[in-house]
Subunit: 450 residues, 2 copies
Amino acid sequence: MAQEADVVVVGAGVAGLIAAHALLQQGKEVLVLEARERVGGRLLRHALAPNCWIDLGGQWLGPTQERAYALAKRLKAELFPTYTDGESLVYFGGQARRYAGTIPKLGWMPLLDFGNAIAKLDKMAQQVPLHAPWDAPQAAAWDSMTFASWIEQSMRTRVGRWGMKLFAEAVFAAEPYEFSLLHALFYIHSGGGVERLSNTRGGAQQDRFVDGAQSLALRLAEQLGERVRLHQPVRQITQRDAVVHTTTQAGATYTARAVIVAVPPTLAGRIEYDPPLPPARDQLTQRLPNGSVIKCFAVYDRPFWREHGLSGFVTSELEPLHLVFDNSPPDGSCGILLGFMEGASARRMSAAGHEARREATLHCLTRYFGERAAQPELYLDHDWSAEVWSRGCYGAHFPPGAWTQFGQALRQPVGRIFWAGTETATRWMGYIEGAIESGERAAQEVLEVL
Amino acid sequence: MAQEADVVVVGAGVAGLIAAHALLQQGKEVLVLEARERVGGRLLRHALAPNCWIDLGGQWLGPTQERAYALAKRLKAELFPTYTDGESLVYFGGQARRYAGTIPKLGWMPLLDFGNAIAKLDKMAQQVPLHAPWDAPQAAAWDSMTFASWIEQSMRTRVGRWGMKLFAEAVFAAEPYEFSLLHALFYIHSGGGVERLSNTRGGAQQDRFVDGAQSLALRLAEQLGERVRLHQPVRQITQRDAVVHTTTQAGATYTARAVIVAVPPTLAGRIEYDPPLPPARDQLTQRLPNGSVIKCFAVYDRPFWREHGLSGFVTSELEPLHLVFDNSPPDGSCGILLGFMEGASARRMSAAGHEARREATLHCLTRYFGERAAQPELYLDHDWSAEVWSRGCYGAHFPPGAWTQFGQALRQPVGRIFWAGTETATRWMGYIEGAIESGERAAQEVLEVL
């Protein structure tokens, strides 16, 4: 098989595959090198039964993610709405409370506190330029503090602060003290606001893929055919004049006129570059850790909670499952509860092992949905920090100082090396939408030099 | 040459060499694999003339660094005091002011502010257990905020805050917003207090090596002879039962019963591990970036500032050289001013290039020492972020959340892989002393399993 192409793409996640398609459409020959035995990166589906898929990785689309909806349509990837009928649960202070709509019943003081905070965040977020967060008028101040410090200073109620911590965990898979206020604001702007990021209906968790989100990547890869090479973990990228050699762990070398690296920044930093990367780019990759998340699934013969008027959606302070969704298939032919262990919970439960996670998950689900939840037909989970070619999800977060000190190296090409991946996106960073934007942008940059 | 040993050590910095010596003394056969063409890691000397050395890397010892002094004595590495006679300069508000002793004349309010802050920090630091910073009574709160936020909240004067920023840059080669308050406190405890870390006489900058600090590593390596293998960048570490195979970029494989990895955490994260590292260890390495520093040297025919009663020591708000030392050889046969570009200044000036750094350095030195400083016989600098096998200095810092979420993975062996390097030390982390402690500790851990 050919070892030469116009462009080599490292990573067959959505970003890399989109870049490859964009280049191919412009008549460039491409090769996509993927470390794993599969495509899709942080999108990964799993068959519970024939044609019954769950997503162990990214799974949702929501309004304003226009590139992603267009791609789904083009690839005939069918969508259906996340189940939201009925009442939701908030578990706080030792008990589960039902509520209708999106606002849990936790008193008007916390609600006011939380509402004020959202309004402030959304307003500040508007001041962060998506292409250059470091140019925000208050960038220095906002990047010098953690999001946790802002919460501490700006919110008054224990419950309101807890809600904001939950927001951080749910959206960043990290604790609010792990990233800067500037990063929180950038991300909020990038996703269109706190509520857009948080909500199911009308928000980023609105729609699911009938065949799993990974089907996007599978179909893109299918169209690329033999241009996608699996089992090719890239170890080294060597630039000599206008020629780039990409070498895999097994020693295969691919030659091209440009390379697009479409993997998370922390993993991009583990590739050997010759000549070495400039200090700013290298030190950037030392500073963008991935979040920590374990997706936990309990599968029942039917979605029994629906019979009690429950949507399956839970927010909770009970450890370690702070967030639960009804993740049943579109026809409700079985019932699936999806619980998230995120940030600190994910770290604790990653070390605790599979059996402890199963027990903890079922313990929580039983507190939320009653004894019926204790006996699923199946339990499974997926720890993204243990995936060698992801090493964390949903994506990278920027600790204090990273945006203002190193942000300019995020997309800056290094010779004939270009950077893609959802972390390099301006809109919907961290989401499928951002991955698509980044792939298109990187392809465009390559076309300008080839 | 033998490709087998009881223990393979990765990295011939002080930590690795000390570990190798400790193992050899207990009758274990060792091999030290070093990526570079030289030993010493972040210690690197440069000959200005025959037997006239400057240190491009780490260079000082100070009181309570007992292991380091003992090692210097054992290796017959001669020390001499950093020059401190005469008055120092503080450059602030557009002018240089002279002062005697250690306290610049910047008004009693800032001094009180700064003194209070030091007292508070030293007191809080005492509460951080050196073996387990995450167990500090207020660990969660202290790790949820940046050191910058603490300064903002706890200090009242602009000048006092500037002084603390200078402390952060000088000690961490990072800005105070890049690491957590908990890390600042741990580090202060680890080094014996703010003043111990900051001072020349009586502090961490007290003594210099006549033959350069790297001479420690060179002499240790000499004693190890052929056990030290240069040009052996380690790419992969494979564990099978109780056997560990270490493979270099060139494909050489070394077999041992244990491996000590004695490189900075961020670089340790770039090695391929088979089986893969546990999530906590891997995610730790994503979160410990190295600081940024460029050492700049201006060499004159004689230390002319001494003739004007100046010590050569400057603290300054003038960009980019905030800190200057007299770094002349012991006999004063020529005059050397050593200026530091640290943190944000280092990043800016790294990108700006060598000529811009020369100009900026001489501009600053002229403002501090007059026109005489504008015409050195020689200018040279060293950018540690550009060194592929260091990728930053002086060492790693812990951003918010890193200590409490991942600190326990710092020294925890993974099978037969053990971790050394100054970042794993409890006393004088980041210093030569910490490197020695870490090497001794790792060797001891290995001896317990072999």
